[in-house]
Amino acid sequence: MTVRADRTGLDAAEAAGDGAGITRRRMIGYLIAAPTLMAGARFAAPEEAAAQVPNIGITDFQDLSDVLTYAALPTMGLLAVTIGTDGIARFAVPRSENGQGLTTSIAMIIADELDLPMDKVKVTLAPARPELLYNQLTGASNTIHAIYEPLRLASAIARGALMSAAADRFGVLQSTLRTTAGEIVAADGRRIGYGDLAEKAAVLKTVIAKPQLRNAADLKLTGTEVGRVDARDIVTGKKSFAMDMMIGKATPTMLARAPTLNATALGVENASAVRKMPGVEFVEVIPHTEFVQGGVAVGARTFGQCIDAIRELKIRWSKGTSDGLSDADVLKELRANGLPMTPALPGKAIEETFTFYFRPGDPLETNTAVADVRSDRAEIWSAMKSPILAQEQIASMLGLSPSAVKANVIEGGGSFGRRLFCDAAIEAAAVSAKVKKPVRLQWHRTDNFRHGRVHPMGTNKVRGVVSGGQVVGFDQRHTAVESDFTHGLGELFSALAVKLPEANFLSFSQTVFYFTADNPYNVGAGAPLLNEIYTYNTFNTSSVRNVYSPDTGTAREVMIDRLAKELGKDPLDYRISVAKDDRMKGVLQRVKQEAGWGRSLPAGVFQGVAAHREYKSRVACVVELDMRKATVERKVPDALTGPRVTKLTYVVDVGKPINVLGVKAQIMGGAMDGIAQALTYSLHLKDGLFLEGSWDNAFYMRQWNVPPEVNIIVLPANTDDPGGSGELGVAAAMAATANAYAKATGKMPTEFPILHNRSDLGFDPQPSVPSIPQAPTDGLTRFGVRPKKKKKTAPKRRTTKKTGGS
């Protein structure tokens, strides 16, 4: 069945033959000159593609995934799979892993195509490689979509070369050989491991090679459930994050931050006294710049001593970029700047404006980076999603050539859009350059909430027009604080282009919005439009998970429910009847069945439905929301309880799932995010600073609000195009929760999260000076190691019915 690699050029699509998939784009495979076997794949006519900077805004693309995949095309060919003499296939993925499970899915694709066990595939994260240009940005749930085909091709070529080498070794025809789990087996039973062939199969000169893709039936892993490759390392504490590196060699460093956003430190009154505090090694002003948040950096023997020192610093600050502004001021601006609707068609117009408050993008690992800057070179370790840009910005800041800066991409503790910008990496480099020693920089949690990048506040005005028993018009206008897209496509040139006046808004914001603010229903004329206010660097924003869609999607879905009600139709059946495509109908029909739509529920519990399509995927979600008094008024210390989703059903069509378990995990996480954003999770802006400074202030999902029943169904492959899932689960879960709430209360919720403007904030905001709180000292008594002393009172807790102990 397999023919000997003839080392002549061939169009991969043609060569695919009976191989599963890979038909859309022309690719060429290579055997690459290396000591052991190395195979790569690239898209055809690369010179043509490379010459053309992606023309963002072309309407040939169906969605944002296409734009980003297209941008990655010219350089995808430089990716290669290597087989070592140890029989292990290695691949350095030019993307960032922050929990999405990329490394697992990628290992599955390689293992399948090479016929190797999973434990013989090692996927690592590539350091910044400027030659990759656009291809090193991790965002928009795009990685698998962009990487699937070239990765399969490269693996197939490697397998072919191994078989060819084995045929030579055994002196038999290659067609009589077969592979099995990392070995090649001859008809007479002789067998040889890939590792023993790795050198023999290597080439001295890079040549074009013909791939022979395996048949779909041979791909045993793709489309199944595979556990994470790092699961064991994680639960044994071995998985290493940036702050777990260079201990003892780099100084723990934390910064005192400004009392309002983006202010710069002008001076420190007591620097010399603070330098004398125990453990303190340095105190240095790090000015706020375009790339560096800055403040006053403190280096000490331990991070605890950094905290102590920061709390003692007396710092003079400049004005910030948002001084005096509060939620209400921003809302007023948003309301004044909405784009006009198109003239309404005849019929009954139903119009509503929804407000979406600022939400944090905090991952659990705060912004962190290790930096070692020397006079002639620098090395950085951080969870970077745009490492080429970081490398170039750091080089530019330090006056070094980019090749003198090594930017190592470390696995991160979550991202949610936070790590699109490499804020910590650049800041760490600035500090290291100033103090002339390696530093381990870690943001304090409070700073991460207050000064880190947030989901911009916005309003979404929606109008549906009903006439003759149907919806004939559906218009949406989104007005938002400007999202910072100055990471461009992860590379300095496009990033600079974004900083041109108006360019951030006109190019990237509009493009991203255009490709994501999709209406998946046939509901008549109308188009979503975006207007953004304030410049991109007034607030610290970024493409927080799912970018515009949690807002635009929720507004759309709440209005769809309202319109269905107007038409006297069941909201789920109505969606099925107006869904634009069969995959959309498919997820809706399935969720109706799986969720028991319309089933009898206790009084006070309500179902809500929503659907969404993005990243070449389709989802539908049904929640059951418990609005009973006993639930809503639950008392949990230092928490916002409120209504609870008690059952969640999600049906997911990602086109072609690679790792079903990974897709389920992403959807589950997206759902937790979406429910929290619907009900409780936000930031309150007051006088130029966010009030929230801890996980007991910003009410993200916690166990007491987790749905006890969760059912996620991933549909089997129906295309050869793996869609994205990382951000896919947020919008519909948020919207379904909002719709259940609307059903319970009889009216559309118009502010998100629904409990944002609660009468009691639910926490006492930490002061802005000093910028961070001191750590508690009562752990031993509070958590039951020592008996509680009678006299001493426990630190003030917000609600005191129970102890906080778990």
Partner: protein, 181 residues
């Protein structure tokens, strides 16, 4: 600087550091034990949860000077050893249920889970949904539902300690109230 002695994962350690430095930083920055993670230094997110004499404690809340030389600290790295295996049943359950995503919070989650089961066992009952609801560990990836499943699975692998034969009648665990935590 004073010396502080205590046990970590079965070994006696002595560190020379100011008494008010929290145990989290002593473990991470001085001893290089990096399983406990920094997430807030406020005792809130619980990513640094370890066991001190069997109790789950976010060690960012413990000044090292308050430790006694007999105190026994177990970090995620030493959890397996406590049952004489490479992996504790709770760690196995975590792998079985493929709980983790980014993994940053999970060492703390596992340590909290083990203590939760032991607490329930001390009260002669199974872990309840109310117990799970009371867990405060933050997981920003949103693995919470899988954490709940894994705890119930891990609990099955954790034999309840043998009781001293004091009382005459054995109470059935299910008869206990589920809301006393």
């Amino acid at each position: 600087m004073p010396n502080h002695s205590f046990f970590v994962n079965g070994e006696k350690v002595t560190v020379d550091v100011e008494s008010d430095v929290r145990l989290l930083w002593v473990l991470r920055d001085i001893l290089g034990i990096t399983g406990p993670k920094y997430g807030c230094s406020g005792g809130i997110c619980r990513a640094c949860t370890c066991h001190i004499n069997g109790k789950a404690v976010p060690v960012c809340t413990v000044p090292v000077g308050k430790l006694r030389s007999t105190d026994k600290i177990v970090t995620i790295e030493g959890l397996g050893e406590t049952v004489g295996k490479e992996l504790h049943p709770m760690q196995e359950a975590w792998i079985e249920k493929d709980v983790a995503q980014c993994g940053y919070c999970q060492p703390g989650q596992v340590m909290a889970a083990v203590a939760l089961v032991k607490d329930a066992q001390a009260k002669r009952r199974k872990v309840t949904d109310s117990d799970l609801d009371a867990l405060r560990n933050v997981c920003r990836c949103g693995t919470y539902p899988r954490i709940r499943e894994a705890i119930k699975l891990g609990e099955k692998g954790m034999p309840a300690p043998k009781r001293k034969k004091k009382r005459v009648v054995k109470k059935k665990p299910a008869a206990r109230s589920s809301s006393d935590e």
